[in-house]
């Protein structure tokens, strides 16, 4: 039994190709400085907060778990959450279009979106 065989290179090259491809996906998902923090629960858009206005908002997501989103200096962060892992709280502030913070247990995403106006006004569905 060996840890490495010459043929393994095929597998590693294949993974490298996947990685290069993933950077294209990443690039598309990530744009310039955004204007809105779009907050979605379970994939449905709940509200849009303009990044130009500082403020704080507490959102209740799946299973009653809450996240507090802070908008400051044109960037959004999650400052408080009562989910068990707190990964969303550890995430660095986001400001570029396409960047997002995800709170998996609460099924909340905070995504920075570009300047385009929302199709609906955020209240109507």
């Amino acid at each position: 039994m060996v840890y490495f065989k010459k043929q393994d290179l095929i597998v590693y090259v294949l993974m490298l190709v996947l990685l290069v491809f993933s950077f294209f996906v990443w690039n598309r998902a990530l744009g310039d400085t955004g204007d809105y923090a779009v907050i979605s629960i379970n994939g449905h858009e709940e509200m849009r907060l303009p990044l130009s206005t500082d403020g704080e908002k507490t959102i209740e997501g799946f299973a009653g778990l809450t996240c507090t989103v802070l908008i400051k200096d044109g960037a959004a962060t999650v400052t408080e959450a009562d989910c068990p892992d707190k990964l969303c709280v550890d995430h660095s502030p986001i400001s570029r279009s396409g960047e997002s913070i995800v709170c998996l247990p609460a099924r909340i995403t905070v995504t920075v979106s570009g300047s385009e106006e929302p199709v609906t006004d955020g209240v109507s569905r």
Binding site: M1, V2, Y3, F4, K5, Q7, D8, I10, V11, Y12, L14, M15, L18, L19, S22, F23, V25, W26, A29, L30, S40, N42, G43, F62, P84, D85, L87, D90, H91, S92, G98, E99, S100, V102, L104, P105, R107, T109, T111
Partner: protein
Amino acid sequence: MKLKDKTPTLALLGIMVAAAFILSYLESLLPSVSGIPGVKAGLANIPTLLVLYTQGPAGAALVSIARIILAGLTFNGLSAMLFSLAGAVVSLIFMTALKKIGVFSITAVSAFGGVCHNIGQLAASCLVIGMPILYYLPVLIISGAVAGALVGVITTLTIKHLRSSVKEG
């Protein structure tokens, strides 16, 4: 499979499910180094890989799925369990295929399995949460490859030491 061969297989699978379950628990205690959901060592996949190489894909699927359901119902939570299942199914299919080709080392098969696991898991979370989560794809591919290779090396060592007690398939 002949009937008289069944008992050792059952015993081994039972031990492997138990080992995977404990490793799952140990891993849930480790703090996340990266702050990115899904980036972890995947130690619980050592028994799965070991069974894949000694008992075949059916046993590996059994160990993997039993472990995920047990961990999901006890400490990981239901949503994590569903994402995990998606990742496990994708990675098992690809690892079985790569193993069938027969020319690759366990390390490479496992590294690819790790990548597939993370892609499957991300695809499942995409369905629930939405496309923006695709932003994590590059990180998850790198971490899946590194974690998978590590798991592969450990499994190779384990199989070497267990050779007298587990038959190679």
